[in-house]
């Protein structure tokens, strides 16, 4: 209100701002730089070598690893698969998560129970998820087998089929991760002030209208962030694929990271694997920036 505050008080406030920044930011920066950025730079360094992980890298090959990756058909197949997961995440997983969040965000005991149930797949260790779903899809004894039998069809071994195995994987991805997005939406919905909803009810708005005109706009930031995670996360998909198909059959179900793991790390071609990691990193940045730009354009409109 006053045009000029007394000098000592003003200086104190500036210091307070700086104090806050100096106190609260560096721990994150330090930890992050030390354990994420530096290893990233190291990986970039290794990508220029042919190295089996033993001793120190000694065989410099320049950009050879990158050329090999970009020329490898299986790599491009894995890119295609990762894009499929990305699309499924946005088109199937997020709407499902939003729907469920809207149904169970209020704090009641039954809702809490449902929330736990929906979140369970995310909690379950990947190794168990892979095993379980390989049983579900098993052509002999699984749920899939039962369904086919009921329809009078011959058993179909979906995970053994080069063309359909990845579809099975997308089902597992939705199963495993929708709970994650749901929880983000629930946290955001919890943050919507009760007064706003009350005001809407007073105005005579029905439930659907409250959802559409109050709740969803209020949690828009959460929706955008969850979308960002979906986009970036689908490129990183690794955990469910390995136990389920290990990238097979015939390397048709690799994602970029499982490709990195199978063709880089387990084959002791660390330089090659690092090159894939760097390529993924750069691609993901491009995708993330594109995502942000599109969102900003949407917001500006």
């Amino acid at each position: 209100m006053s045009a000029s505050a007394p000098s000592p008080a003003r200086r104190w406030r500036l210091d307070d701002r700086t104090t806050a920044v100096v106190l609260m930011l560096p721990p994150a920066l330090l930890l992050f730089t030390l354990f994420v950025i530096l290893p990233l730079l190291d990986a970039g360094y290794y990508s220029l070598f042919k190295w089996n992980g033993y001793g120190a890298p000694s065989e410099f090959v320049g950009l050879d690893n990158y050329a090999q990756v970009l020329g490898h058909g299986i790599f491009w197949q894995s890119v295609r698969n990762s894009v499929i997961v990305l699309v499924v995440s946005i088109v199937v997983q997020m709407p499902l998560a939003l729907l469920l969040a809207l149904l169970v965000y209020r704090q009641t005991p039954t809702n809490a129970a449902f929330r736990l149930v929906f979140f369970l797949p995310y909690i379950l260790a990947e190794i168990a998820s892979g095993l379980i779903w390989s049983f579900v899809f098993d052509g002999n004894t699984g749920v899939a087998a039962g369904m086919f039998a009921a329809l009078g069809m011959k058993p179909f071994f979906i995970l053994a089929d080069k063309d359909w195995a990845f579809f099975a994987i997308t089902v597992v991805v939705v199963w495993k991760y929708f709970g994650f997005h749901m929880m983000i939406y629930i946290a955001a919905l919890q943050g919507v002030p009760a007064e706003m909803i009350e005001a809407g009810k007073i105005e005579g708005a029905g439930r659907w209208q409250i959802v559409r005109h109050i709740l969803i706009p209020q949690i828009k930031p959460a929706l955008m962030v969850s979308g960002f995670f979906a986009v970036v996360g689908s490129l990183q998909l690794f955990d469910v694929v390995i136990p389920l198909t290990n990238g097979g059959p015939s390397n048709s179900t690799h994602t970029i990271v499982t490709y990195l793991y199978a063709f880089g790390l387990t084959r002791l071609k660390v330089g090659f694997g690092s090159a894939v990691g760097v390529i993924l990193f750069l691609a993901a940045i491009v995708v993330a920036v594109a995502y942000q730009r599109t969102l900003n354009k949407e917001a500006a409109r």
């Binding site: 806050a20 530096l38 190794i127 919507v192 993330a288």
Partner: protein
């Protein structure tokens, strides 16, 4: 679409039951699997066991090393949660509240953790941890894990903090409350939903982490439960029934943490703080 309460309620129930079936059906395999023989698990994964083999559960529960592994995992996960919550919330607060030169660049920098696959970092991380002398200690797992979780956590916190009413801060500022104090006294207490959410994510991902502990932990005494589970994976035959029994038991702490965290998700902002 008929909007009467009855149909809406029915629709809701149907959707919830369908999704629950989709989720729980496969989970049954985990729980029941721990009671079946190896052959039966293979041929009858979804049904009830013909003979309930309780030996797997009982042998695990009576094994002292199981509790040791569980304890190690618990310690590592809890400390990771505490560390992440403090460090990430603090950083996110700075980005949400304070404008300063280079803020946008730093934010983008901290998001890089989301675009970098952990698998690529394994070998460099091992070398880093070894050179820092942290190898074979709890911190060898806690610190890298926290670091990798920062991108996600900071982003979530920042999004949430930005939604908090600006008037609150202005009112406190006039009263003489500085940035740091405001963080402790107002922001955090109002952020329990997001704290609980981020805490749960961090706990779960730490709890299930296999690759990092494998590479940086050498002493059996420090093993986390995924490493302890390896003893059921032989050279040629995996004891899936024992593995599933083990996993059923190890889900419980995560579930407990989730339920405990749920209490802090409160519906709507309480009136007092906003109106004051």
């Amino acid at each position: 679409m008929n909007m009467s309460a009855f149909f809406a309620g029915l629709g809701r129930a149907v959707v919830l039951m369908l999704v629950s079936a989709f989720v729980l059906g496969p989970m049954l395999v985990t729980i029941l699997g721990g009671f079946k023989s190896a052959g039966e698990l293979r041929t009858n994964p979804f049904g009830f066991p013909q003979n309930w083999q309780t030996e797997f559960f009982s042998s695990i529960l009576s094994d002292a090393t199981f509790w040791r592994f569980l304890g190690n995992s618990l310690f590592i996960s809890l400390v990771s949660v505490v560390l992440t919550l403090i460090v990430a919330a603090a950083a996110a607060y700075v980005f949400a509240q304070i404008r300063f030169f280079g803020a946008r660049w730093l934010q983008a920098y901290l998001l890089l953790g989301l675009v970098f696959p952990f698998a690529t970092a394994i070998l460099p991380l091992f070398i880093k941890v070894r050179d820092l002398g942290l190898l074979d200690s709890y911190w060898a797992v806690i610190l890298p894990q926290t670091a990798f979780g920062l991108s996600l956590s900071i982003l979530l916190f920042k999004t949430f903090f930005e939604q908090l009413p600006k008037e609150l801060f202005e009112a406190a500022w006039v009263e003489g409350c500085g940035y740091v104090r405001f963080f402790w006294r107002f922001t955090l207490p109002l952020s329990t939903p997001i704290l609980a959410t981020v805490g749960t994510f961090v706990f779960v991902s730490s709890w299930n982490n296999f690759l990092l502990p494998l590479v940086v932990l050498n002493s059996r005494e420090l093993y986390t439960w995924p490493l302890g589970m390896m003893q059921f994976r032989g050279e040629y035959v995996v004891e899936w029934n024992r593995t599933l029994a083990f996993i059923t038991l190890t889900i419980l702490p995560s579930v407990a943490f989730f339920l405990a965290a749920q209490k802090y998700i409160v519906a709507g902002l309480t009136g007092g703080a906003v109106k004051g």
